[in-house]
Symmetry: C2
Subunit: 221 residues, 2 copies
């Protein structure tokens, strides 16, 4: 069972590492981190480097793809090489999945057309432009062989469900135990509706430069 | 505000990436990934490479340290160079924290002596050998300037609490929203008591080789 997780510049690390950590110990699973070329890419904050082990074309037909998001997804969703890989991989996959704005690559590659799908709360409306039915109030959306997760940390929940499909519910529960995933965030929150206005006001100062640019474009457009 | 996150061979990736993703957008925060030497280390499964950007000695006095766990923590907790770094960093830190078995480095460096502390559920009993009071039923334990988190994913919850100390509750809630951290695991679980026996039986086949060795040693000892 080959799982490919693409890595690219200006992605959000947890989008990839959450599913990786959930799926990596399932029996018979091999996870490969693929990208433009073998070597280190820097994530959206610039503060972390992740290793790409194989070029996209070296892993053309994985059984499962898990596309992480992050502001860099805008670029790859407009890049012919990434689109060609995503189309070919999706045509042969058992499962095609995304976390956060990783859905944009799937959408641009045509994989979301006519399907219900979700992404990071800030970008759900964009999915309609790919012919998808945007879903804004579910943490993961499964439609046929395509599973899309909401933002960043939702990849862990999505991957636990995927683990039941790839192995069994017992294996998924064992993975959950290995990760000690019995979440207890100190606050109710994590969605726009459960976040107080005083916290929403802090968001602009927490964006990385490319995200500021994107937010300004959206406000203008 | 300098935060150092050590990376080392055979660590568990999510232990480091969960707190990184939670803390990285707080105003004025710089996160540095430190280790034995700049370059890529492989995590416990061998399937992922993470980039060390600076040698330990190049970041001797970070304001905050977050030590991730994984089976490789057994080695660094017995390594003079790692112990010297941890002692020096802890002596000058504002906050000294760990995720999962990252607590073993803190313990071996003397930072847990006389303190309540926790770690991955499978290793809580080991903390007593470092003079700590082991806590097995809390997801994170704060004792003075030392915060220890339970296994792997508990680092996210711990880091949200840490974010309130480093910035404010509003900033922590904004970080939670950026990460869309409104967890919905498909099963109740993630602790030994909430995991059914049929799932517990799957655990041995999901260990990486070094963990099998450790489990066998513990059973013999």
């Amino acid at each position: 069972m080959d799982i490919a997780i693409p890595l690219y510049a200006d992605m959000t690390a947890l989008d990839a590492i959450g599913p990786y950590e959930t799926l990596n110990r399932l029996p018979g699973v091999r996870i490969q981190f693929v990208g433009e070329e073998p070597g280190v890419i820097r994530t959206d904050t610039g503060m972390l480097g992740l290793m790409v082990d194989a070029a996209l074309e070296d892993v053309p037909h994985p059984d499962v793809i898990v596309v992480p998001g992050g502001i860099g997804s805008r670029r790859i969703a407009q890049d012919d090489r990434w689109l060609a890989w995503a189309r070919e991989a999706h045509a042969h996959s058992t499962w095609t999945t995304s976390v956060c704005t990783g859905a944009m690559l799937l959408g641009a590659a045509g994989a979301l057309e006519g399907r219900r799908a979700t992404t990071h709360w800030s970008s759900v409306h964009v999915l309609a432009s790919y012919g998808a039915e945007p879903v804004g109030d579910e943490r993961m959306v499964e439609d046929g062989k395509v599973i899309t997760a909401a933002g960043v940390s939702a990849g862990i929940d999505m991957a636990l469900t995927l683990a039941t499909r790839l192995a069994s519910e017992d294996h998924a529960r064992a993975a959950q135990l290995m990760m000690e995933y019995a979440p207890e965030p100190p606050f109710e929150g994590g969605t726009p509706l459960t976040t107080p206005p005083s916290a929403l006001e802090r968001l602009p100062e927490m964006l990385v430069p490319l995200e500021v640019e994107f937010a300004q474009e959206q406000a203008l457009g």
